[in-house]
C-alpha cells in the first residue's frame, strides 16, 4: 500500500510540475474566425489576413465590432500565421475558423500548396467554408456587415443560405480537398465579391458589401474561370445540390408576364455510357416545383396550362445546364461534375486506358440532358385576386 501511495504521489508531482504544457485559458486565446490568403507584395511571399474574435464586444453584439484584423506575411501559410502572433497579444487558435478566403491571383497560380497546412495541422477544421474572392481576399475579410457582429460568421451564414436560390456553390474545405485529391474531378469553390456603389445610401458603405456571385471553377488546382449565378445553378442541377430556388418562366398565356415556380426538391443522376469506345453521359434531372407566384391576371391553374408551365420550367433548367456545360466542358475542359469518376465506377476496365487522357477525352464527351420537371401545388389560392 505504501509503495502505491508513493507511486501515486510521484505521478501527482510530475503532473503538477511538468503538466500543463498544452494548457490555455480562454482569456489567453485569440480565436480566429476567418482568414484570407493573398499574394504578398514582396516576391514569393504570402499575405495572410486573419479575423480575431473580441469576445466581450462580440457578446454585446455591436455590428461588425466583435473582431479585429491582423495582416501578416510569410513564405508559407504557417509562417505567416506565426508571424501574425507577433502582432497579437493572444495565442491564435484556429479551430473555430469559419471561412477561408483565397485571393483570385493566388488561386490562379495554384491552390494545392496553400491547403496542405490546413489539412495537416490539427487545429484547422475541414468544416470551414472555402471561398474564392474575386479580387483580394483581404477586402472580403475587411468587408462590413449590418447585422452580424462577427463578419466571418456573416459570410458563413450567407453560404449556408445558398439553398434558397441554389445559385451559389457551397463548398467547405472537406469537400474541396476531396475534389482536389481526386485524379479526374476538378474542384469548385464558392465565389464571393465586393459589390459596387449602386443602391447604397451612404457613400462609405458602397464599396464594402459582399455578395455571393456563383462559383469559381478550377482546372487541377488552378483557377480557370468563374461561373455566374445561373451557370452555378446549372452546375448544382448536374451534381444534385439544388435545394430550393425560384425558376422564373414566361406565362404561357401572356408572354410579357412572368410566373415564379419554387423548387421543392430536385435530384440528379449521372449515367455514363460507352459505345464504340466513345464516352457519353446522360444527366437525368428530376425536379418538383410549386406554383408560387404569377404576375398576369389570368387563371393559370388549369391542367393543360400546368403542363405547359412544366415544359417551360424544364426548358429553363436545360438552358442553365447547357450554359455551364458549354463553359466548363468546351471552354475550359474542367471536369467539375465528376463525370470521370462516374465512368470509372461503371466501366473500370475501359477506364484504365482512359485515365491518362481523360482531360482531352472529356471535352468530346457527349452529354445528354433529360429533365423531368413537375409542378405540384398551387399555393393557398387558385386564381389571382384580380382576375379577368
Amino acid at each position: 500500500m505504501k509503495r502505491w501511495l508513493a507511486l501515486v504521489l510521484i505521478v501527482m508531482v510530475t503532473m503538477t510540475t511538468c503538466g500543463c504544457w498544452s494548457r490555455r485559458e480562454l482569456d489567453t486565446l485569440g480565436v480566429v474566425m476567418g482568414m484570407g490568403i493573398d499574394r504578398a507584395k514582396e516576391d514569393g511571399k504570402i499575405s495572410l489576413t486573419i479575423q480575431i474574435l473580441k469576445p466581450a464586444e462580440a457578446k454585446k453584439g455591436t455590428t461588425g465590432e466583435g473582431v479585429w484584423t491582423i495582416t501578416s506575411s510569410g513564405y508559407t501559410v504557417f509562417d505567416a500565421f506565426r508571424n501574425a502572433t507577433m502582432q497579437s497579444e493572444r495565442e491564435l487558435f484556429l479551430s473555430h475558423n469559419k471561412v477561408i478566403v483565397i485571393g483570385e491571383e493566388l488561386a490562379r497560380a495554384g491552390i494545392a500548396p496553400l491547403v496542405d497546412f490546413l489539412d495537416r495541422a490539427h487545429e484547422p477544421r475541414r468544416l470551414s467554408y472555402f471561398v474564392i474572392a474575386k479580387g483580394e481576399a483581404k477586402d472580403i475579410i475587411l468587408a462590413e456587415h449590418e447585422q452580424e457582429s462577427i463578419p466571418a460568421k456573416a459570410i458563413e451564414n450567407m453560404i449556408k443560405l445558398y439553398g434558397d436560390t441554389s445559385m451559389a456553390a457551397s463548398v467547405n474545405l472537406h469537400e474541396f480537398l476531396k475534389m482536389l485529391a481526386s485524379k479526374t474531378t476538378d474542384p469548385i469553390a464558392s465565389r464571393i465579391e465586393l459589390i459596387g456603389a449602386e443602391g447604397m445610401e451612404r457613400e462609405e458603405d458602397s464599396q464594402k458589401r459582399l455578395r455571393l456571385t456563383g462559383a469559381a471553377a478550377f482546372l487541377s488546382d488552378k483557377l480557370v474561370g468563374w461561373l455566374n449565378r445561373s451557370e452555378t445553378r446549372g452546375f448544382n442541377w448536374i451534381v444534385g445540390k439544388v435545394k430550393s430556388g425560384i425558376i422564373v418562366v414566361k406565362s404561357p398565356i401572356d408572354e410579357s408576364q412572368y410566373v415564379s415556380i419554387e423548387i421543392i426538391r430536385a435530384s440528379s443522376k449521372i449515367i455514363p455510357e460507352i459505345q464504340d469506345g466513345k464516352v457519353s453521359v446522360t444527366v437525368k434531372i428530376n425536379q418538383e416545383g410549386n406554383f408560387k407566384e404569377q404576375m398576369s391576371n389570368v387563371n393559370l391553374t388549369q391542367p393543360e396550362l400546368f403542363s405547359s408551365l412544366e415544359r417551360r420550367q424544364a426548358e429553363v433548367i436545360r438552358n442553365e445546364i447547357d450554359a455551364v456545360l458549354q463553359k466548363a466542358q468546351k471552354e475550359w475542359g474542367a471536369d467539375i461534375f465528376g463525370f470521370g469518376e462516374a465512368v470509372r465506377r461503371e466501366f473500370p476496365k475501359v477506364w484504365k486506358g482512359l485515365e491518362e487522357r481523360w482531360h482531352d477525352e472529356f471535352q468530346n464527351v457527349e452529354v445528354r440532358v433529360q429533365v423531368d420537371a413537375k409542378l405540384r401545388r398551387t399555393g393557398v389560392i387558385s386564381t389571382p385576386a384580380k382576375s379577368r
Binding site: 500500500m1 501527482m12 503532473m15 503538477t16 503538466g19 500543463c20 498544452s22 494548457r23 490555455r24 485559458e25 480562454l26 482569456d27 486565446l29 480565436v31 474574435l53 469576445p55 466581450a56 462580440a58 457578446k59 466583435g66 487558435f93 479551430s95 473555430h96 469559419k98 487545429e123 477544421r125 462577427i150 460568421k153
Partner: protein, 523 residues
C-alpha cells in the same frame, strides 16, 4: 419469534461456559449484585415475601426507567404477593414448590426465563429485564418487561417517499425486528443476536431469510461481527467500518436504510441485514454500486416512470461527478469542443477574471461543500437561509466582482443539485469530483479519462461480501439488466439478482403478465 429467540438464547446459555453461579442464599446473591452496582443509584431492589402458609424471601431487581412498572406490579409482584395465596391457601410449601408454582401458575408474563449465572443476571438487568430471586433457589427468573421512553415510529427524513410505506425504523431493536416480521411473515426469516462492545454490550441482530440468503454470506457476516473487539458500538456506522470489504475505498460496500420496506425488499433478494440496537439505520450486505440508484419508490411506481427517473438519476450522477472536470477540460484544453456562440459567451465572461479555471473549480467546489455542511448542522430554518443566501451572495457577488466567471457558478450549481439526487454515494462523489478536476486540469480530456480508468479499475476490483461491486455491469449478467437501466414491470422480474440470490434464483412464476379474460367461451 420469541420462542425462536428463547431457544437461541437458551442454547447459548447451555453451551457457553459460565462464570460465577448464583447461590441458594438470597441475601448473598443480593449482596453480590449490590456490590456490582455500587454507586449506580438507578438500580432498584424490591424485597418481599412469597407463599401462603410459609413465606419465603423474594427480591426483584431492575433498573429504574428501563422497566414498565405498571406491568411489573400487575404481572409479577401482585401475583406473587397475593395470588399465590389464593391458589394454594393452606399448604406448607417448600422453596422448590413455590418456585415451580410461581413458574407454572402464578407469573403471568409471556417471556419468563431462568438464569443461573451472575454474569447473565447482570447483563439481563442492564438490558432492562427484571430479575426475580427466590430464597433457597440457585436460579433466578428473568422477564423482559422493558418499557422505556422511546421515539415512536415516524417517517424517516432521509428516505422520504411520495408513494410507499411511511414508517421507519426506530432506535429500539425489538421494534425494528417486529416491523420486519410484520412485512415478512415467514418462519424462514431469522434474527440472530450477537452482543458486541465490551462496555456498551450492544445487541446486534443479523437477519436473513433462510433458503434465499447465501449461507456463506451469512456465516461471513457472523464471523466478521463476532471478531469485532471494541469497547463500544454506538451506531451501525461502527459495525460498517469494522466489517466492510474495502476499508481504504472511497466507495461504501455496506448499504444502509431506515425503512423496513427497503430492508425487507433487500432481504427478499437474498441480502443479509444487520440491525443495531440504538440506531434506526439498518445495514444490508452485500451492497452493490447499482443499489445507490435503486430507490424503493421505483418498485412502487409504474415501470415507465421509474425507468425514466432512474435514468435521470444516472444523468445526475454523471453531472455531479463530471461537470466541473469536463468544464475545466473544455475551457483549458479542448476549446474546439465548445460551440462557437457558447465560446463567445464563455470567453467574454472569462475576460478579466484572475484565476485559472482549475483553481476556480476547486475553490468553488470547496465553498459549496462548506455551505452544505453549514446548512446541515445549523438549526433547520437558519440552515436553509445560510445555504440559499450564501450560495446566492457568493455566486452573484463573485461574478459581478469579476472574481469568477459566471459559467463556473452555473457548473458548480448543476454539480451541487445533481449530487443531492444520489445521496448514497455523494460522499464518494465529492472525492471523485476533486480527483477528476485535478486530473483534467493537468492533462485535459486525457487526464480525465485516465482518472476514469483508475476509478473504474478500483471499482471493478471491489467486492462486497463476495459480490462484485459493479455487478451486474461487470461481470455482466444479462438477466439482471432488467433492474439496471430499466425497471421492468413486476410481472417480468422473475429472478433475483444473480450474484446475491443465486441460491434460490426464481422469485415468481413466469407468464404473470395481466391479460384480459379470455372471452372466447362466451361467444
Amino acid at each position: 419469534m420469541f420462542n425462536l429467540l428463547k431457544r437461541l438464547v437458551s442454547k447459548k446459555n447451555s453451551t457457553k461456559e459460565k462464570g460465577e453461579l448464583l447461590g441458594s442464599d438470597i441475601q448473598r446473591n443480593l449482596d453480590r449484585i449490590k456490590e456490582i452496582f455500587i454507586n449506580a443509584n438507578d438500580i432498584v431492589i424490591r424485597a418481599f415475601r412469597v407463599g401462603s402458609y410459609r413465606k419465603i424471601k423474594a427480591s426483584i431487581v431492575f433498573i429504574d426507567g428501563l422497566v414498565d412498572t405498571g406491568a411489573l406490579n400487575e404481572h409479577i409482584i401482585k401475583p406473587l404477593v397475593s395470588d399465590i395465596r389464593l391458589t394454594q391457601p393452606n399448604l406448607w410449601l417448600t422453596n422448590k414448590q413455590i418456585f415451580r408454582l410461581a413458574k407454572e401458575q402464578v407469573l403471568s408474563v409471556g417471556n419468563l426465563q431462568e438464569v443461573e449465572s451472575l454474569e447473565d443476571v447482570v447483563s439481563r438487568i442492564l438490558s432492562g429485564n427484571i430479575v426475580l430471586f427466590l430464597d433457597g433457589i440457585p436460579t433466578a427468573f428473568t422477564s423482559s418487561l422493558q418499557g422505556w421512553e422511546a421515539r415512536g415510529i415516524e417517517e424517516p427524513e432521509t428516505e422520504a417517499v411520495v408513494r410507499g410505506p411511511r414508517e421507519g425504523f426506530t432506535e429500539t431493536l425489538r421494534t425494528n425486528t417486529a416491523q420486519l416480521r410484520r412485512k415478512i411473515k415467514s418462519p424462514n426469516l431469522k434474527f440472530e443476536i450477537i452482543k458486541v462492545g465490551r462496555e456498551t454490550q450492544t445487541d446486534v441482530c443479523v437477519t436473513y431469510i433462510k433458503g434465499i440468503a447465501n449461507d456463506k454470506v451469512v456465516e461471513e457476516v457472523r464471523r466478521r461481527i463476532k471478531s469485532i473487539d471494541t469497547d463500544s458500538i454506538l451506531e451501525s456506522g461502527y459495525i460498517e467500518q469494522f466489517i466492510e470489504d474495502g476499508p481504504f475505498s472511497i466507495f461504501p460496500t455496506v448499504g444502509n436504510s431506515e425503512k423496513p420496506d427497503v430492508v425487507g425488499g433487500k432481504l427478499l433478494e437474498g441480502r443479509v441485514g444487520i440491525i443495531t440496537d440504538g440506531t434506526p439505520f439498518v445495514l444490508t450486505v452485500p451492497f452493490l454500486f447499482i443499489e445507490a440508484f435503486q430507490v424503493s419508490e421505483d418498485y412502487y411506481s409504474r415501470p415507465y416512470y421509474s425507468t425514466l427517473v432512474r435514468w435521470f438519476r444516472f444523468i445526475a450522477f454523471f453531472f455531479s461527478i463530471f461537470s466541473p472536470s469536463i468544464y475545466v477540460a473544455l475551457t483549458t484544453f479542448h476549446q474546439e469542443m465548445i460551440p462557437t456562440p457558447l465560446l463567445v459567451t464563455m470567453a467574454a465572461s472569462k475576460e478579466g477574471t484572475p484565476f485559472p479555471a482549475l483553481v476556480e473549480a476547486i475553490v468553488m467546489g470547496v465553498i459549496f461543500e462548506i455551505l452544505r455542511e453549514a446548512g446541515v448542522r445549523l438549526p433547520r430554518p437558519v440552515g436553509q437561509a445560510v445555504s440559499i443566501v450564501g450560495a446566492m451572495v457568493i455566486g452573484e457577488a463573485a461574478v459581478s466582482a469579476g472574481l469568477i466567471g459566471a459559467p463556473m457558478v452555473i457548473v458548480i450549481a448543476i454539480t451541487a443539485i445533481s449530487s443531492f439526487v444520489v445521496p448514497v454515494i455523494s460522499d464518494a462523489g465529492a472525492v471523485m469530483r476533486l480527483f477528476l478536476v485535478i486530473m483534467s486540469g493537468f492533462l485535459g480530456q486525457f487526464g480525465l479519462m485516465l482518472g476514469v480508468t483508475g476509478i473504474l479499475t478500483h471499482m471493478v476490483s471491489l467486492r462486497s461480501f463476495g459480490a462484485p461491486y459493479l455487478s451486474p455491469v461487470a461481470p455482466t449478467t444479462i438477466s439482471d439488466l432488467k433492474d439496471l437501466f430499466i425497471r421492468a414491470p413486476w410481472w417480468a422480474m422473475t429472478t433475483r439478482p444473480r450474484v446475491i440470490g443465486w441460491k434460490d434464483p426464481i422469485r415468481q412464476g413466469f407468464r404473470l403478465m395481466p391479460e384480459p379474460p379470455d372471452d372466447d367461451e362466451n361467444d
